[in-house]
Amino acid sequence: MRRARAWRDRHALTALFGLALVCGLAAFVSPPPPLPHARAASSPEAVARLEVRLGFGGVVKIGVPLPLEVVLPPLAVSGPAEMVVDTPALGPQAGQVVTTTAVPFVSVADTVRVIRAPVVISDPRRPVTVRVTVRGREVLGTTVALSPEHVGGRVVVALSDDRTGLAALHRLPGPVVVAYVTAEALPRRWQEYAAVDLLVIRDLDPAALDVAQQEALLRWVRLGGRLLLVARSAAAAGSTETAGSPGGRAPVFPAYLDPLLPADVGPIRALPSAAGLAERYGGTSPSGPLTVAALRPRAGAGHLDLSGVPVIASGGPGSGQGQVTIWGFDPWRPPLIGWNGRLPLWDNALGSEPAPGVDVEGLAEHLAAGTPLDPTVHARVFGAILLYLALLLGLRRWKPTVAGAAGALLIVLAALGAFPMLAEVVRDRSATLAQVTIIEPAIGTGSARATTVAAVAVPYGGRYRVTAVPAEMLAEPLTPASDLRIVLGALGSELTGVLRSGDPPRPFLAVGAIPLSASAVLSRDGRSLAVDLGALRATHVELRWRDRLYPLADLPAGRTVHELRPDGWIAAASSGGSSSEWSGRVARAIFQGSGADAILNGAAPVLAGEVDGVAPVFTLGGARALGQRLTVLLVPLERR
């Protein structure tokens, strides 16, 4: 009995000792109490995940605005919130340059939110970081890595239920990357289509795009986008008449695309062979019959016929500067899916890479050249220094005593209060903003592309705050800057950053569209010019073509007709028609820069002039200097 008790006691002691040891070890190796940040990470919000959709089905292009859509899970807290996106950029110091884009919003607890922001990726080697803060506290965050195969030189975006069949396009020069997307992935800002070289619409539910997406799509096409519509025979068969058709039955394509279409879609026809396609695009003739939707080209549209049936239509007056093509056949279906001539066909639809128009980087450099300090600032500083020295030395001369020397200290005190204020005036008056807006109307569409290049100079260094309005203008930096923050607001974008003393001016770019109906028509014989500037009035107007120009002086608003003399054309180099030395420099940057070929070497001349009355896009906060501003109108001439 005693032995049993002793055994129990011994084992109880052993167990207690073991428990203490385990507790001690546990206390030693267990993690410390969570820090506030770690607690945030283990909160319900952190368990929920951000859903990030970048680019077009993950496909991106470097250096152009891309759509970014972030789906926020229900958050536990309400209040002022912000989504912050850090996009790496290639800068002089590798791995250190990040542009921050912030979208403020109001978080409502237990509600799913979708936040969108355009982002520009310049360095695909580093991930994009997305963070969400509520009331200043970070509640969610994630990173999005980019895989090299998703970075395209040229990008084809396809809305198709069949998500295969275009793999061969990567053999086209570019290289071409194909992104299959659903309708929800299409941008709501037309500028976010900048990465897209060809948008293919094969399967599109007319109700799938919201109004913003529809408007963005139409505007992108009218301002230069390339759209390929595939009239699937199955869809065409379901509607015996088609888009814009007199029959009034369900159209093949959504009604909002109708103004763009180069052709109406007619009845289904079965062609015995597609040999005509092989004759046109090469390769062996596709075997077997080809079912097509017969097209009815609209006035002004080009078309390709097979056996007398139009099957490809393109062009048309409704597409502005863009290119809309309709294929009456389905390249995803036999016999074309296996046709070896389909690459040239796609290459034709993709078109050649558009030549860059205005050289924005070159223009920014010319804007930035020289930031003269306001002469009145010089005068004020000179006067202040002179006054200070005169008062000081005058008092010391007038009262050469210890009391006089002490009195001089009062002047020093006053100067110590006044000179920092003078310094602030110097800083404010030296910070300047120079901007040039180039307006290029898309003929027949009632809208124009507006490209604004601006340069902010803070010669003595310091923080700057630039506002870009309206919100439809998409503003971005032209050069990488590690301390740049873009806040996208409802009224516009605010760009803030810091320039050090001696830093060159920081260039920005804003691209948008404005409503404008301007046109210029040159007669076939080149002797008569009809210009309609709408509500605008232009000064220093001239026709430019290659290395020649024809001065027209100033043009009033509305329609004017001018007789052109053949001997009125002069060498562009002898032009002196700008309003100032600065605007002359800007004109040289536009018409002699690297993008000049695309502007001046077209089939017809371009009408160029300076325009008054267009509101500035960029505003520099706190700057008291006037800055410099110029609006240039570039209207390509039509020949009729």
Binding site: G370, L373, P400, A405, L422, A423, Y460, S501, G502
Partner: protein, 234 residues
């Protein structure tokens, strides 16, 4: 102001035309430099972002103040009404009072000149948003260096009787301090007043230079006191 030597020197310097001229030259140079340096430094290399004008003003300031302060104590610039230490030993003043009074009057003059130039420096630094800490650090260094070297001038005023030899020794000393120290190894290069000012302006505490010139000033003061004491006893 219990020290009669200090009181007398300050009174003499306040009323001196020569000192007024020195102040006009000093402030005129600073003012011209600040005004001419007003245009921003554009187009420089991205790496060279030193606030160069601010540093240049400080360089000019340390050179001018050091020379003026030491030349006044070395009797190279004879201030009207101000007596030399060697003359004061015949008055009923103790050697310590003479050395203390002369040292303090020199320091007060240096600080006063620094204050007179301060608004011009503040204008430059505020335009370029240079931290005020850099300005204060540089001003402190200038005061110590100028006082330390002025004490050498005080010593020379009692060591050299001949004016010519005193002036030569003074200039040799200035040349050694401003030019000779540039030949020192890099670890001691901050003993050069101009180098030390550049470091102070860039935010590096000029501890070595402050200690060295404060020590030099104290040493020269002690030496002068010892010399005056011996002269008085003789």
């Amino acid at each position: 102001m219990g020290n009669p030597v200090l009181r007398g020197d300050l009174r003499a310097r306040s009323g001196s035309r020569k000192i007024w001229t020195l102040e006009a030259i000093y402030l005129g140079i600073l003012g011209a430099l600040v005004f001419l340096g007003l245009p921003p430094e554009l187009g420089r290399l991205a790496e060279s972002h030193e606030p160069s004008l601010f540093v240049a003003v400080l360089w000019v300031q340390i050179v001018l103040l050091t020379y003026f302060a030491s030349a006044c104590l070395a009797q190279e610039i004879a201030v009207e009404g101000e007596k030399a230490p060697i003359d004061l030993i015949f008055a009923p003043f103790a050697a310590a009072a003479i050395v203390g009074g002369k040292s303090l009057s020199s320091l007060v003059t240096i600080l006063y000149w620094l204050l007179l130039g301060a608004p011009l420096l503040v204008l430059t630094t505020a335009i370029r948003q240079i931290p005020i800490g850099s300005l204060l650090s540089a001003a402190g260094l200038i005061a110590v260096v100028a006082w330390g070297i002025a004490q050498v001038g005080l010593l020379y005023s009692v060591v050299f009787e001949a004016e010519f030899s005193r002036t030569v020794a003074h200039w040799m000393t200035l040349a050694a301090i401003f030019a000779g120290t540039t030949l020192l190894p890099p670890s001691l290069r901050s003993l050069n007043p101009v180098e030390a000012t550049t470091e102070a302006a860039s935010g590096v505490p000029p501890a070595l230079a402050v200690a060295a010139y404060a020590g030099l000033g104290a040493l020269c003061g002690l030496w002068t006191w010892e010399r005056l004491r011996r002269l008085a006893a003789a």
